[in-house]
């Protein structure tokens, strides 16, 4: 009898140990996450409900002058009541979406097409191309932004020099002086009704294209190489032409890899702080401002910590919604080969 009870408790103990073991393994990672992710996140959430200013920095949330003002920061942002020039929340939000979306719509197809071309059998120096294409991925965005800002410089930039040379070749004597980053007149006025798409936007698109497509090509190349060649052989016997094979086999089969990459690209572009900040600084007249650069501006110039925190919460919510929706619609995490 006694041994039976002892056995039972021993079994209970091992059951308990088995149940708790996974959590023990997770604990170190969770502890690190708590310090570097959860704590700042919650701290920021609290700050967003206050009128946190420079004077409160010394004592933080314990500051005696700190007032909890409820949702006032959020209301100010949505109604455009922040003490900031040229501020329209909807315009920033729409531009931010437009910026991220147009980038992805450009990078993903370009990345796929280039990957397909590079995947051609018998192509020379394949490995060298692939090594070169990975380079932009590893160059810091600040370097890229600075270089491209110089390229688009009105007086000394390579872009205007190139266009001047091209114009001269076509017979025009006047030097091209396009004010890429400062001209406020939108070249296509109707394109985005909530706010003008200035030349700076197009310049940023060009620069970010240089930054963005190689990653998509790398992902697409990996996905392409995982497609068994006999599928193409079967399709060619079934009667599929090259383009039919591309649309009916390549595209659906790289989709599980490209959709997460596109979602990643979207969120990356959506929050591409360093690049936008150093290339245009959000200008001219805040026309290329995205939410993160704006939030940073609230802190840097206006010292509105509370409002900036509330802004960041908006960014977080928007990014989360975007991610959930795309993941749901596209079943991004679904793989065809998984049993």
């Amino acid at each position: 009898m006694a041994t039976a009870i002892a056995k039972k408790t021993r079994k209970k103990n091992t059951d308990f140990r088995k149940a708790i073991l996974p959590y023990l393994y997770l604990l170190p990672a969770f502890a690190v996450m708590a310090v570097i992710v959860f704590y700042p996140l919650i701290y920021q959430l609290i700050v967003s409900f206050t009128d946190f200013q420079t004077k409160d920095l010394r004592f933080g949330l314990a500051s005696p002058e700190l007032n909890f003002i409820g949702f006032q920061n959020y209301v100010d942002i949505l109604t455009g009541s922040l003490p900031v020039q040229n501020f329209d929340f909807l315009r920033v939000l729409v531009f931010n979406f437009w910026w991220a979306l147009t980038n992805v719509l450009l990078h993903v197809p370009a990345g796929v097409v280039i990957a397909v071309l590079l995947n051609t059998q018998g192509l020379w120096f394949k490995k060298i191309y692939r090594a070169i294409f990975i380079l932009p991925v590893v160059v810091p965005p600040i370097v890229v932004a600075t270089v491209w800002r110089n390229i688009f410089d009105e007086n000394y930039g390579a872009m205007n020099q190139f266009l001047t040379a091209a114009a001269q070749f076509l017979g025009s004597a006047d030097p091209v002086r396009i004010r890429w980053l400062t001209d406020f007149t939108p070249p296509i006025e109707w394109l985005l009704p909530t706010g003008a798409l200035t030349l700076a936007y197009y310049a940023m698109m060009v620069a970010n294209f240089w930054l963005g497509w190689p990653f998509m090509t790398v992902v697409a190349t990996g996905a392409l190489q995982s497609i068994p060649s006999d599928l193409y052989e079967a399709a060619s016997i079934d009667g599929a032409t090259g383009s039919q094979q591309f649309w009916r086999i390549t595209v659906p089969l790289i989709r599980p890899a490209m959709i997460p990459a596109a979602v990643y690209g979207f969120t990356l572009s959506f929050n591409l702080f360093a690049f936008v900040f150093f290339m245009t600084g959000g200008g001219p007249a805040r026309s290329t401002e995205i939410m993160v650069t704006f939030a940073y501006d609230l802190v840097r110039n206006l010292r509105l910590f509370g409002a900036a925190a509330a802004f960041s919460v908006f960014i977080f919510i928007v990014a989360l919604i975007v991610f959930l929706i795309t993941n749901r619609i596209t079943r991004a995490t679904e793989s065809y080969t998984e049993a």
Partner: protein, 366 residues
């Protein structure tokens, strides 16, 4: 329905000759199996016929049409791949309908053909599933179904059973044979498994190192192999070979292996006369070596002293692994045999069923 002809076909990869002067005519409605060891060029030959490889020299004809420069889709063939090559993102129905849709076949015609093929193969319940939800055998059927709906002139099979387990393979073998009888179409089938070849083929082409060794019906291949390679490749367990010499003693012609000597019956001796005194390879199949207590009636036997090294009981027969001097060989004997491990015994070789090959050319002496 069409015949298929390989006319002096070569396929070279740089210095490697994968297919070497292949010359085969496959008759209409025939079931031809290309068999050979891995890397012998049989799959290359099939892929060349499908149009997936360009040949270096020669002509391939389907019916009377030279198809060297015809695209795979216009050759009117269908192929079943070793890996099945099912489109993972499409349902079984769409996999089977894929080729028909591309050819703009009317919808109801597609449905009719897919349903019919699904009936033949018993996969009606699976039509809405994705390939990943199927077992290996079911995928195999879908791959065959995809070929059937196309109603091609020629079916090509590239080792279609090698990914299946042994039991399923036996079942599918029978089904493919049945399918051939039912469809009455030319089948060309590649395998490295000589049992598949023997059980299904109308004729078998044995290929080694890119060269056609022999093209014959299964029974002739088995009974009268042209050379050492075919003799060793066809049959399981394989034929026993003993290097030796043909020796004449008085009016008797005998094989001397060094460890034992057997006399060739006079009625068969004639073709071998010219090789007397020369190096030969003596071949005999395991089932033609008998336990001395169970010799079938009316056969000429020669007794050979052996030691039993290993016995394998199969129930309906026993495999004996025997040693005679430096030679080890296999006998397939009557299950009542009392021979056991370690015993010394005399086994009887059926001299009516021997094979003798020229040691230098490895060709059969006839």
């Amino acid at each position: 329905m069409a015949s298929v002809t390989f006319k002096n076909v070569y396929k070279r990869y740089g210095d490697v000759v994968a297919v070497n002067n292949l010359d085969i005519r496959v008759e209409d409605k025939e079931f031809l199996v290309l068999v050979g060891p891995s890397g012998c060029g049989k799959t290359t030959a099939l892929r060349s016929l499908a149009g997936l490889e360009e040949i270096s020299e020669g002509e391939i004809l389907i019916g009377d049409r030279v198809v060297n420069d015809v695209a795979p889709k216009d050759r009117d063939i269908a192929m079943v791949f070793q890996s099945y090559a099912l489109y993972p993102h499409l349902s079984v129905y769409d996999n089977m309908a894929f080729g028909l849709k591309l050819r703009k076949t009317p919808k109801d015609e597609i449905k009719r053909r897919v349903d019919e093929a699904a009936d033949i193969l018993g996969i009606h319940d699976l039509l809405q599933r994705k390939p990943r939800q199927l077992s290996g055998g079911q995928r195999q059927r879908v791959a065959v179904g995809r070929a059937i709906v196309r109603e091609p002139k020629v079916f090509l099979f590239d080792e279609p059973l090698s990914n299946l387990d042994a039991k399923l393979r036996v079942a599918m073998r029978a089904e493919i044979s049945k399918l051939h009888q039912r469809l009455q179409t030319t089948f060309i089938y590649v395998t490295h498994d000589q049992i598949e070849a023997m059980t299904m083929a109308t004729r078998i082409a044995v290929i080694n190192k890119g060269i056609l060794q022999q093209l014959d019906t299964p029974q002739i291949l088995y009974d009268r192999p042209n050379n050492l390679f075919v003799a060793g490749f066809i049959g399981s367990p394989s034929m026993n070979f003993f290097p030796g010499k043909l020796r004449r003693e008085g009016n008797k012609l005998m094989v001397d292996t060094g460890d034992f000597t057997v006399v060739i019956p006079e009625k068969f001796a004639k073709p071998y006369e010219a090789h007397a005194g020369k190096e030969i390879i003596f071949g005999i199949r395991p089932e033609n070596i008998h336990d001395a207590d169970f010799i079938p009636p009316n056969v000429d036997v020669e007794r050979v002293n052996v030691k039993v090294d290993v016995t394998e009981l199969m129930g309906n027969e026993i495999f004996l692994y025997l040693v005679s001097g430096k030679n080890t060989f296999v006998a397939r004997v009557d299950p009542r045999s009392k021979l056991r491990l370690g015993q010394q015994a005399a086994v009887a070789m059926d001299m009516d069923s021997i094979h003798i090959f020229d040691a230098a050319t490895e060709e059969a002496i006839r």
